[in-house]
């Protein structure tokens, strides 16, 4: 099984130095790219069927194609390294351990859209990654991979690291751009799309870290090779993760399209002793629950969508039978209510209300009519009713919990208490 993104990681989890990265073929793809035309690079990536790994799953090549090629400089390329979706920890590995792979991917992406300025927007909590990336940028500059006239091609690219100061909203690409401009991280109206008017009003592409890390390998081995890495229609490998009460939580690069069952039972070692699988969020906090009947769902964009959820970030959070689903969802809605940027009313007012209702139910003060109220909110805060995708994302785990774990909600209301142990007993 090929693991292009992670096969060269060091056993001690330390970052690959420039020399080590070059020894395993690093920056060879860039040497190839600078001899191609930007249009050829775009066509190659479009043919590879690479889809964004940040959650939306949009074709990367297609996204790039909206950048006006003849627009005057500056143009920007931004790596979205603001990994803040609860349950998600895949980009951390790439950022901390293989920084040059990201940088090479960024240079390739920048070349494809002819950007001359680039930023890594890194979340605040990733302290080790900040040092690793900064060091790698300096190494790449010294080696002539960044800066002016890269590898004698006449192509210039400058790279900067920006570390954030919190807020989930910064992961939304237009909010991220506002934050980079020194503003509150509120989303922008689209159109204009960032490809036309992004950072400082200039053409801009924002790509996820894992997406960018795929690029050197696509260039080196070709679009057909990349497609064949996958078990399904969606190309490539995917860094999947599992957290929750499984025996061996972790992250693994696997062919796109492995089943949820394989992830949980084989790679994560199955549930902890004495616990049963109850459900899982397949791709972070803002995805609908999958349950036992979905264990054989193929974890690619189409497969998870057909099961009524989203692949999202591909990092699974498992719910076991001794953990309260109402408390679980309450924790998620608390997060979303807190992280709402407050710009649009349904999200700002609706999410705290939902959290309060869930809190009442969890504390034994729920009323039978609360379930209808919650259901109504999943529509009122659903797609089309809010300015950005935060609130609709927040409604995904809620609407599916009301469907799959309804008896738990009803039991809380009827018995006026939570029958699960209030504080989850675990290894801690």
């Amino acid at each position: 099984m090929e693991r292009p993104l992670t096969q060269h990681l060091r056993k001690d989890n330390k970052p690959l130095s420039l020399k080590e990265y070059e020894q395993v073929g690093g920056y060879q793809a860039l040497r190839k790219v600078v001899k191609m035309s930007p249009q050829e690079v775009q066509a190659l990536v479009k043919d590879s069927n690479l889809k964004g790994r940040g959650g939306a799953g949009f074709s990367t090549g297609l996204k790039w194609s909206f950048v006006p090629m003849n627009a005057p400089k500056p143009k920007y390329l931004v790596a979205n390294a603001d990994e803040m979706e609860p349950g998600t920890f895949k980009d951390r590995i790439l950022l901390e351990q293989t920084p040059h792979q990201l940088i090479e991917g960024m240079i390739i992406a920048a070349f494809a859209i002819q950007a001359d300025q680039s930023f890594v927007f890194l979340r605040w909590a990733y302290k080790t990654a900040a040092q690793t990336i900064l060091q790698a940028i300096h190494e790449a500059e010294a080696a002539g991979y960044l800066g002016k006239n890269i590898l004698g091609s006449g192509f210039d690219l400058h790279m900067h690291l920006h570390t954030g100061v919190g807020r989930y909203m910064c992961g939304e690409e237009t909010a991220l751009l506002n934050s980079l401009e020194g503003k509150r991280a509120t989303p922008r109206a689209k159109p204009p799309f960032p490809q036309v008017s992004g950072l400082f009003g200039r053409p801009t592409i924002v790509n996820n870290v894992e997406t960018l890390c795929c690029l050197p390998h696509i260039v080196s081995h070709g679009a057909e090779w990349f497609k064949k890495l996958s078990l399904t229609q969606d190309a490539g490998t995917k860094i999947y993760g599992v957290s929750g009460k499984v025996k061996k939580p972790g992250a693994w690069e696997l062919p796109m399209g492995v089943t949820l069952r394989e992830l949980i039972e084989e790679h994560a070692g199955g549930m902890q002793d004495g616990l049963k699988f109850r459900g899982a969020l397949p791709g972070g906090a803002s995805t609908d629950f999958l349950v036992e009947e979905h264990l054989d769902v193929k974890m690619d964009f189409a497969g998870v969508a057909a099961a009524g959820s989203r692949l999202g970030t591909g990092t699974v959070v498992v719910l076991d039978d001794k953990t309260c689903p109402v408390g679980f969802v309450k924790n998620l809605e608390h997060f979303f209510a807190q992280e709402s940027c407050g710009f649009c009313t349904p999200c700002r007012e609706g999410l705290p209300w939902i959290e309060k209702i869930l809190d009442s139910i969890d504390n034994g003060d729920g009323r039978p009519e609360d379930l209808k109220l919650l259901e109504a909110h999943t529509k009122l805060l659903g797609p089309g009713n809010t300015f950005c995708a935060l609130a609709p994302g927040a409604m995904e785990p809620l609407q599916s919990a009301l469907k799959y774990f309804r008896e738990d909600f009803e039991k809380h209301i009827n018995e006026k208490q939570c029958t699960y142990s209030k504080i989850m007993s675990t290894a801690v």
């Binding site: 990994e83 803040m84 979706e85 609860p86 349950g87 998600t88 920890f89 980009d91 951390r92 979340r123 605040w124 909590a125 990733y126 302290k127 900067h160 920006h162 570390t163 954030g164 100061v165 919190g166 807020r167 989930y168 934050s179 980079l180 401009e181 020194g182 503003k183 509150r184 991280a185 400082f200 993760g241 599992v242 957290s243 929750g244 009460k245 939580p249 972790g250 992250a251 969020l281 906090a285 990092t315 959070v317 498992v318 719910l319 076991d320 953990t323 408390g327 679980f328 924790n331 998620l332 608390h334 997060f335 807190q338 992280e339 940027c341 504080i423 989850m424 675990t426 290894a427 801690v428």
Partner: protein
């Protein structure tokens, strides 16, 4: 008065962006690094330097949870309260911290040693529960290992 070091840090950030105001978050970060938090006085100084009104800068400062507009202790403890950590016993961990430090979220110990804050996902969900103390990340925390962590900080 902004110190020479602070000005140097702010100027570096300004050099990367097309106009001064765009570096205001960086400027707040630089000053917070030196002063631990952003007082009203600090805010006014930064705003003046960045050619912004204090109100405009405050609208940015108060948006971001890791710009501290209230005094904090020598070490800020961030407890991940997101889903994977919650499943793995974060509430129990939080209670233990409350008991051990005699403070709740948003409070600072009387000796000014620790401030306790909740924080969304620290991105280390396979090693839950996790906390950060200052810049240091601690994962797979066991209740009996908590004192050892806290004792490292004066």
């Amino acid at each position: 008065m902004l110190s020479t070091e602070e000005i140097k840090g702010i100027e570096e950030a300004i050099g990367v962006v097309p106009y001064k105001k765009a570096a205001c978050i960086e400027a707040l970060k630089v000053v917070q690094q030196h002063r631990k938090w952003i007082s009203d006085e600090s805010l006014k100084e930064v705003a003046g330097y960045m050619e912004m009104s204090a109100e405009e800068l405050d609208s940015v400062a108060t948006f971001y949870n890791l710009i501290f507009r209230q005094p904090v202790g020598r070490h800020v403890i961030l407890v991940c309260d997101s889903i994977s950590c919650w499943v793995m016993g974060q509430e129990k961990l939080k209670e233990k911290l409350n008991e051990r430090l005699q403070i709740d979220y948003g409070q600072t110990t009387k000796d000014g040693r620790f401030t306790l804050l909740p924080n969304p996902c620290l991105g280390t969900c396979d090693c839950a529960p996790a906390i950060m103390v200052g810049n240091d990340l601690y994962r797979n925390i066991k209740m009996d290992g908590l004192d050892e962590i806290l004792n490292k900080y004066e």
